[in-house]
Structures are given as structure tokens and as C-alpha cells.
Symmetry: C2
Subunit: 361 residues, 2 copies
């Protein structure tokens, strides 16, 4: 049993109210009671995804949908925009699914340049692009609007955008920007436990899927669509997380989406100011820094593992000591979910106190 | 919010203690706290699966693993044993995954005959066989021991056995019988909410997977194996259900597995006796009747939809009015999970009272 609060970049802290909602009794997933639950989530989901397209619920992590989307949509070749651990991995997943894939690679912490994307797409080789909007491993948020401006110039290219750690943190006007597929997960800014992925698919992406062989069953977009029409999911869904989702959506709209975005932005700035005050540098350039989490370089050369461990043990707060090849060289602090000025204030003052022990005397 | 108790054949009723376990706080899935949770489940899982092979946890419904297993293991052609809604569907899933597949089809409610299987396998055409041990749609349990006796004669044929609604109800000695892959789900006899699939893979099935292209990522058996070695899952797992699993396993071994099997058998017999007393006939032959649920023909020609509805509304008990093409012609009553002599007694006396209104005067 853990006795510390999560400020790692997912899973984040889950409220007691969310756990309580998860314990609403399960029902048969082909019953009218399930249809009621599913359909009561849908209008709020569409508002939150800023789309008229249906929003689907997948019992999986986001990776399932990231792989499934490629099997549904790629007939020629996928261009994978790569700028961190998760976007780098996507090209590997594409190849394992037997697909042709090329990289558009930048250094971890750098953003994808819309002009580079345009140049590579001009080859005409690609029918799908994958992009991780917010690279959680680097705390870097790609310039999605400018990237979508480029993608709209290529009407045969389908866009699959991973918004796992940016969804509900910043506005992502799906329909206005012409995004084809947006996918996200339950355990980041939505502040639910992991186990549920959410995604939405444009009409032209459905047209592509209709012509694609080997989509399989579990992640078949057309199965999701036909079951959605009945208020159901293709396979037995993770009902407790759908109860939690219903609760979470109501909470989000009771706060107001704009207020939610502003709160995340404000709390993120508090972490930035803390970093600046101590002389820690951001990994990404300031203008591409994530609003969901802060990824800081260990430019003060502190014993990072010791700092993270002491914070967890003495202050009961978990932050992250870096991911993959930048583990130990960076650390990450999440402000996603239900955080408040007070809770982030407590986090930062706790970090202050512990940091003192790790700075040169 | 539902106000009735589930006696449908899954999801079944979930206890308050299980919900409570689900609310144990989530942790990072790459943390030592998660590794502790994962590894504390493993010995009990291996005992319950009667295997020395690792037992994997998939954040999906069983269908994900049913499709994934085929992508991992079929290089030539799969023979799908078909005897009800779920086993019939498996061949369709195989074809959608781009695989060659043939049916070994019997009528719904009939069992798969080991001799027929032997004849078809003797062609040498197949490298994988799929079998649903307990066809939930028909309440029919296949003679798995005799089927495995046949399969062991074909060392190049890998067996994938769906035990979704028989797992932990009857003994299935995986290693002794030489089963390659067993898979099950959380929401049947394990009496947890849906969202977690469990499966185990033999050494020779791993050898096959190592040689198979296009396994993908999300259900790649080799990914499960390499992460298992670290006490982790390939992708972010549905942590609340793993907490619930840990609780459930301890409860199962505190009752004793043999006692659990006997309890399911005894409670199942109570339902059979109730049926006999009213003149309802079993859909399957008596010797192939499931121990998990009872599927009865509507040979008394009652208003089945009315009976099911009245039972739910007046007695707050949900049973099932038939699945797929036998909806309305059959009804199903589950005795899976945490049921007791007392709870099944209450179910049957409630059914007695309601049935009176539906019998001819």
C-alpha cells in the first residue's frame, strides 16, 4: 500500500470521489443500464474532444489504440514524428505490425518543425502521420496548430495524434484543426486510474479504414462505430472506469473547461518559477514547454535519485527521476489532474526543504 | 445505478470487499511498489492455472488475447472448434487478422467430439487449434481432457483454450494436460469487474511466437515475457483490477481451490434440480452441462422476456434471457463467483415465486 502522493507524469493522484464512482455496481454490458451509462458520457466527451465525431472507449492502454490506429489506417507508409521515448517507440510498433514506416527524428526535447514535416510529406510517400502532441518523457509540447496547418495541405495523409498527456490540459479543437484521430488515456490529466483509452475518428479516417485489410477485431474502428450506434463497445468494457469517467466529465464541466485549462497553465507556471528560482533549466525550449508537467535538466548536478527518494520518504510525495535515456539527467514534476494552487504550493515547499540537503554547502 | 443482483453469466456480482480492494491507491507502473504487487500475485496465479509457466495480465477483455494469441501463434492455418456464439466468432476474428482458418462446427449446445477433431487434424493442414472450453452462450462444457488427449498426438499443433467461464470453477491441469495457451477474464468466476484478461503460455508456444512475424506490440507474447521478468506489464496496466486480483487470489486460497470447485458444482446442481422440478430441459446433454451456469430451453413456452423482467423488477435479480440466435428460446442462470447455498437458495425461491405468474393456469 503506497503512502505517498503521485506527482509523477502519470498515473497521477486519483481522488477519493473518483474511487467512489469506480465502485458503482457493474451491470451487463449488453443491458440498457450500460447503454444509459455509455450514452450519458457521450455528449460531454464530444464537447471535451471538440468534435462532432463519435468518441470511443477502448479497454486498453493508449498503446493498444496507437497500434490499432495504424492497422486501421495505413495502407502505404507511415511517417512517425519522433522527439522522445514514446514517439520514438511508435515507429517500432508500426514495424512490428508489419507496416512500412519512416522517421522524422529530432533530438529528445526538441519539437517537430512544421516545415520539416512539409518537406518530407511532399515526397508523396506517406498516407499516415503519427505525432505525440505532448512528449511526456521530455515535457515538450509540439506546436500542434502549426503542424495541422501543414497536414491540411496533404488531404491524402491521415493524422493520428497522441494527446495522452495534453488532453483536457490545453484546448485541442479537433474538428477546427482537421485532426483525424485523437487518442488519450485515463491516467493522465483526467486523473483516473489507468486501464481506459479514449479516441475519436474523423469521417475520412473511417473511409480509409473501410478500405484497409487486416484491421483485426479488438481495435477495429468499424466495430467501435457499429457498436457505438447501439450505445455499446465491441468487447466487454472496463465498466468501473466508465463509471469514473462519467463522474470525471461532470466534474470537468462543473469547473468549466476554460477554467480547467487556465488552472493547469497557472500551476505549471508555479513549477517553472520554482525551477527558475533554484537555477534549474527546462529541457525543452520555453515556448515548447508542456503545460502538463515540467521536465528539468539536472544542471545543478545534484544526487537526483537521492532527492527523489528523500522527497518520497520524508515528504510522501513522488516525482519522477527521468525516463529512458535521460533518466538521472532530468527530473519531471506533474501538475496534471485535480491539483490546486494549495497542493502545488505544498509540493514546491516540500521540494524546497528536501533540496536544501542536496545542494552544495 | 443498478439495484439488482447479477446472476447473468458475466459480469457476475462483485463483492464490497473486492470493490474496496480496487480502491487501493494506484502507483507508477514502473515503480518497485508495482513490481511488489505484480510479483505477489504470481505464485497464486501459477497455482490456480496449475502451471509452471508465467501468468500474464492483459489490460483488455479476453477477446484481445484471443485475437493476439492467433497473431502470435498461427503461421499456417487455424482450426476453430465452433459450438456456440463465442467459439463461432473466433473464426471471424482469425480471418479479420488476415489468417487462414477452417471450422470444426457442431450445433449450438453440442460438444466438440475428440474423434472429429482427430480426423480433421490428421490432414496436417493446421498449426493452431482454438477451443472455448465452456461455451457461455449455451451453458455447455467441452470434454477438455479427452480433447487434449487428441491434441497431444499432434505435436506441431498449438492449443489455445478459452476458459473465460470455466476458470477456477473446475480443475484444468494445464501442464499435466499439455495445454499451450489458457486465457480467461476477470468478470466471470473470479467475480471481479471486467477489464483484465489473464493468460499463460507454454515454452513451445513461445518458440512458435519467436518465429512468427506480425505479432504486433500490444498483445505480443514476447513483450509480456520480457516485462514479466522485471515484474511488469508491457503497457500501462489496469492497476485497480490488479489490486482486486491480489485480494481475490488470497480469498480463493483461503477457501481452498478444491472447496471452491466443489461449491460451484454443488450450487450448479441446485439450479439443475430446480429446472428438473419445473420440467425445464437443459440445452446441452447432461454430461456436457457447464458447472458455471445453467442454460435451459424454454420448453414450457413461457413469456421469457416477461419472466426475466419481472424477476429483475420485483425480486431485484438479473438472469439472462438467451444469447444471440437462441435469445428467447433459452435462458441462463449463473452460479459463478462468490455464491453460497443461501444465495442460490434465495435465487431459486425468487424464481419460483415469479415463475408462478408465467405458467399456464
Amino acid at each position: 500500500m503506497i503512502d505517498y502522493k503521485l506527482h509523477i507524469p502519470g498515473p497521477v493522484n486519483v481522488s477519493e470521489e473518483t474511487y467512489h464512482a469506480m465502485c458503482t455496481p457493474v451491470m451487463g454490458h449488453r443491458s440498457t443500464d450500460f447503454v444509459d451509462l455509455y450514452q450519458s458520457c457521450q455528449p460531454n466527451l464530444q464537447k471535451l474532444f471538440q468534435t462532432k465525431d463519435p468518441v470511443f472507449l477502448s479497454t486498453s492502454s493508449a498503446w493498444g489504440v496507437m497500434e490499432g490506429a495504424l492497422r486501421n489506417l495505413c495502407r502505404k507508409k507511415v511517417l512517425c514524428c519522433m522527439c522522445g521515448a514514446f514517439s520514438d517507440k511508435w515507429i517500432d510498433v508500426a514495424k512490428r505490425a508489419g507496416l512500412q514506416a519512416d522517421p522524422l527524428q529530432v533530438e529528445w526535447g526538441q519539437h517537430i518543425d512544421p516545415d520539416d514535416l512539409k518537406t518530407q510529406l511532399a515526397s508523396g510517400d506517406y498516407d499516415v502521420v503519427t505525432l505525440v502532441h505532448n512528449e511526456t518523457s521530455c515535457g515538450m509540447m509540439n506546436p500542434l496548430k502549426e503542424i495541422m496547418d501543414v497536414l491540411r495541405e496533404f488531404p491524402d495523409v491521415i493524422s493520428i495524434i497522441d494527446t495522452v498527456s495534453s488532453f483536457s490540459v490545453v484546448p485541442i479543437p479537433k474538428d477546427d484543426w482537421g485532426i483525424d484521430v485523437i487518442l488519450t488515456g485515463s491516467q493522465k490529466a483526467l486523473a483516473m486510474p489507468p486501464g481506459l483509452a479514449l479516441f475519436t475518428v474523423s469521417a475520412r479516417a473511417f473511409q480509409r479504414a473501410e478500405q484497409t485489410e487486416g484491421r483485426g477485431y479488438y481495435f477495429d474502428f468499424l466495430e467501435f462505430r457499429s457498436n457505438h450506434a447501439k450505445g455499446m463497445t465491441p468487447s466487454t468494457p472496463v465498466i468501473p472506469l466508465i463509471h469514473a469517467l462519467n463522474y470525471t466529465l461532470n466534474k470537468i464541466f462543473s469547473e468549466g473547461v476554460e477554467n480547467r485549462h487556465q488552472r493547469h497553465s497557472r500551476l505549471n507556471q508555479l513549477v517553472h518559477k520554482w525551477a527558475e528560482g533554484h537555477g534549474f533549466e527546462l529541457l525543452p525550449q520555453q515556448q515548447f514547454a508542456s503545460k502538463s508537467l515540467t521536465c528539468l535538466k539536472n544542471n545543478l548536478h545534484i544526487d537526483l535519485a537521492g532527492f527523489v527518494k528523500t522527497l518520497r520518504e520524508s515528504k510522501k510525495i513522488a516525482i519522477d527521476g527521468g525516463y529512458g535515456k535521460i533518466k538521472g539527467k532530468t527530473f519531471r514534476v506533474s501538475n496534471m489532474g485535480d491539483e490546486t494552487d494549495k497542493s502545488i504550493g505544498h509540493l514546491l515547499s516540500s521540494m524546497d526543504e528536501v533540496l536544501e540537503q542536496f545542494l552544495p554547502a
